[in-house]
Symmetry: C2
Subunit: 455 residues, 2 copies
């Protein structure tokens, strides 16, 4: 029996069999995605223990689901019946920060903000900043190729992963990638692991590139009557060739939910708030802020200004970050994550409005609108099955709209379970077959998070 081998193979503090704790490990934050019941969870302390877990699962042909903080929004870390859950919460060492070469070597369970703080102490910066950064782990960020707010200027997790240590689907502990600035020695297998959602290997160590710390940002805020008008402002910024360090959209549903929860005293004067930032120093930064302001005003902002009060600006960004958990308090939230070309953003936002009306669903909007990555959040009253069906129909309409406009079904959350049908539509049969072939090649026994991403 698998469980006997786990008991025999690991110290008792590594193993979790308590059903209540196991239940808490059985799903991520994608409330709408199904999940099964694991037989056990294990909390390895070393790469070698991770390897031992994978080898046990191989021997018993038991599925292995790896889990960071469980902040995923697509069900990628959800349990399968009879699986083992590998939890990375004991793999939290920041093993090295090299200030001169500007890279960090971390274990997968390190929380994003903890790495950020350690870097900041040394005048360095790890840019990827998903809204979940106070909780989510670098391992989970790598598994989903997480994005965030500053990614429109600085790139996503993929752009920062230099090297990985991984346990493969055949139980080997290997190093992929490099520590040097450049390198083309063989296939980019480290890159292939990024965003593969635990289906091709289990991460045991991650080497990420760092940047020098940046200077302060200037914030430009605008109020709009409609998401579409705010989207037009964002499209105009992109068309002007300015790349802000942030360009975020938050609507009144989100602001109200955050305010109700945190009592931050957020202004409710606007239906939609657009928040732009530039971190470019000097005159060029002033110019960029002026372009943002001009684009906001030309698109019909009811109010827009360069912020003279960074405390207020930071509060608005904090509200944007809290939008998802704040809405979750109101009922089951179905999160969208489409990404469309920047010039298609106004049309996509209009289609989201239309889907909300057509299906009579409350859709709140937050968006990394600067890079076309929209997060309509479909909110339904708890226990209302009809509302749930309506939301599901709206969700499908939004996916259709994104594909129709040349977009993708997932910009940064990953496929997990929620986007599998969308993925099939986006990729088509020949590319799906390539996925299956790569999966068979690197996980020949199908033990690594099977049934996720694609079928």
């Amino acid at each position: 029996m698998m469980i006997d081998d786990l008991v025999a193979g690991f110290p008792p503090d590594r193993l979790v069999r308590d059903p209540d704790v196991l239940r808490s490990f059985a799903h991520d934050e994608a409330e709408w995605a199904p999940h099964g019941t694991p037989v056990a969870a294990i909390r390895p302390h070393t790469a070698e223990e991770v390897q031992a877990v994978v080898r046990l699962c191989l021997r018993h042909r038991v599925p292995l689901v790896t889990r960071g903080a469980g902040t995923g929004l697509s069900g990628g870390a959800n349990a399968l019946d009879g699986c083992v859950i590998l939890v990375t919460d004991k793999l939290t060492a920041i093993k090295e920060i090299d200030e001169r070469e500007r890279f960090a070597v971390v274990e997968p369970g390190v929380v994003n903000d903890d790495l950020g703080a350690a870097c900041a102490e040394r005048g360095l910066w790890y840019p990827p900043d998903p809204a979940s950064s106070p909780w989510s782990t670098i391992g989970g960020n790598v598994a989903t190729n997480a994005g965030g707010v500053c990614c429109m200027k600085y790139g996503v997790t993929r752009d920062y992963v230099l090297g990985l240590q991984v346990v493969t689907g055949t139980g080997e502990l290997v190093r992929l990638g490099r520590r040097t600035a450049k390198g083309v020695a063989g296939y980019d297998l480290a890159g292939l692991m990024v965003g593969s959602e635990g289906t091709l290997g289990v991460l045991t160590e991650i080497t990420v590139r760092l940047r020098p710390a940046r200077g302060p940002e200037r914030t430009v805020a605008g109020y709009f009557d409609t998401t579409v008008a705010a989207g037009e402002a964002a499209a105009a910024v992109a068309a002007r060739g300015v790349v802000p360090s942030a360009l975020e959209l938050v609507d009144r549903h989100c602001l109200a939910a955050v305010d109700a929860w945190k009592n931050m005293g957020l202004s409710a004067d606007a239906n939609v708030v657009l928040l732009g930032r530039t971190d470019t120093p000097g005159a060029l930064g002033e110019h960029e802020a002026a372009v943002l302001l001009e684009c906001f005003e030309n698109a019909g902002a009811t109010w827009a200004a360069q912020s003279s009060d960074e405390t207020e600006a930071n509060a608005l960004f904090a509200a944007r970050r809290l939008a998802y958990p704040a809405l979750e308090r109101l009922g089951p939230v179905l999160t969208e994550d489409v990404c469309v070309p920047t010039q298609a953003v106004p049309e996509m936002l209009a289609r989201i409005d239309a889907a909300a009306r057509r299906h009579d669903v409350v859709i709140a909007n937050v968006a990394h609108v600067g890079d076309g990555n929209l997060h309509p959040l479909l909110v339904t009253p708890p226990g209302d099955e009809n509302a749930r069906k309506a939301a599901q129909a709206a969700f499908e309409d939004i996916i259709s709209g994104a594909l129709d406009l040349g977009g993708t079904v997932t910009g940064e959350h990953g496929v997990g379970l929620l986007k599998q049908a969308g993925l099939t539509r986006e990729l088509g049969p020949a590319v799906l077959e390539m996925h299956r072939a790569v999966k068979r090649a690197l996980d020949p026994h199908g033990i690594l998070n099977p049934g996720k991403v694609f079928l």
Copy 2:
């Protein structure tokens, strides 16, 4: 017979059977790499014709070697006996440049500088700039994940590839990747194709991200007595957290060879010239130039100054670009391409010197020294078999040195044939087995450039 099917299947202008022309297609610029004799070459005009070639090769189990401009330096495009060579020189359309979304869609045979010129007309910029940019193609750049001069600040080809159209090893014509700023829909198969040297698919279309055109650069030049001193200056720049837009090393062997060829009147006062640039505007750019100058002087520059004459600075950069072809005129050149951590650059340059002395080989040095990517060029007199053996021994010593210092055997040229032994040392058996598994998955009949990269 394969050849009968090629004659029957394609208009006569697509097919090359003339032995002299075939010979010219049988190898790239890696003069030391072996090559065989192809049965034919084919110059498709469309993606569908490329697909037809792949399918013919599949049917007959004939190896297919894809070739851009043949400027490769590792033998990656070298012919195998009995293979078909697919030449991309008729696939030269720039199909689309989207100014607002900032991407370009090109056929693989488009020359790098031609794309650059088309972008410049629209106020846009495609950064990857290998020294071969006047001749090399975007397809070849993607196949090798080409780097260049500005890559230390702006990244390599991989960082600009958004999407690809590819004919797979099973003869399917598929689209990989996306056109949006972000996207995590499935495995990063587009990224996997980049740098795979024609072993996983044949490119038929490439979508690259563009940047807004940048402003003028400031140049700081320094003269040094030794490569090691110049390397110390480069390491100091990296340690200071400044990322120049270029930091190039050229030694007197290269300058003399270029001058002898092009009569550019280059200064020969220095053993080693270090060329730094910053394109950061305003006061920060001035500061960065001052840091470069300070680092040059502190490392013992015999002369250093911010250039007041950009014509002279451009001439020095042009000389750096011409170093390889200029040296080739003097005899067979064996090109190294190691990349080491920036702080190990002085030590690596010292080891290159030591290898030259130990084996009595002339080693010229050019280097993207800012990112640790060194190109020692081993020059031997034509026809001197002993010198050739000595150069080969020095080449192996340099590879050992790079691995010993935590570097990689190839920073930007690719593995091809010349670095296969080095790759085996760098990756080890388990990672090589992953390569073989991925290759079998995507090219199950082994027809795509077999025997290259790894065995």
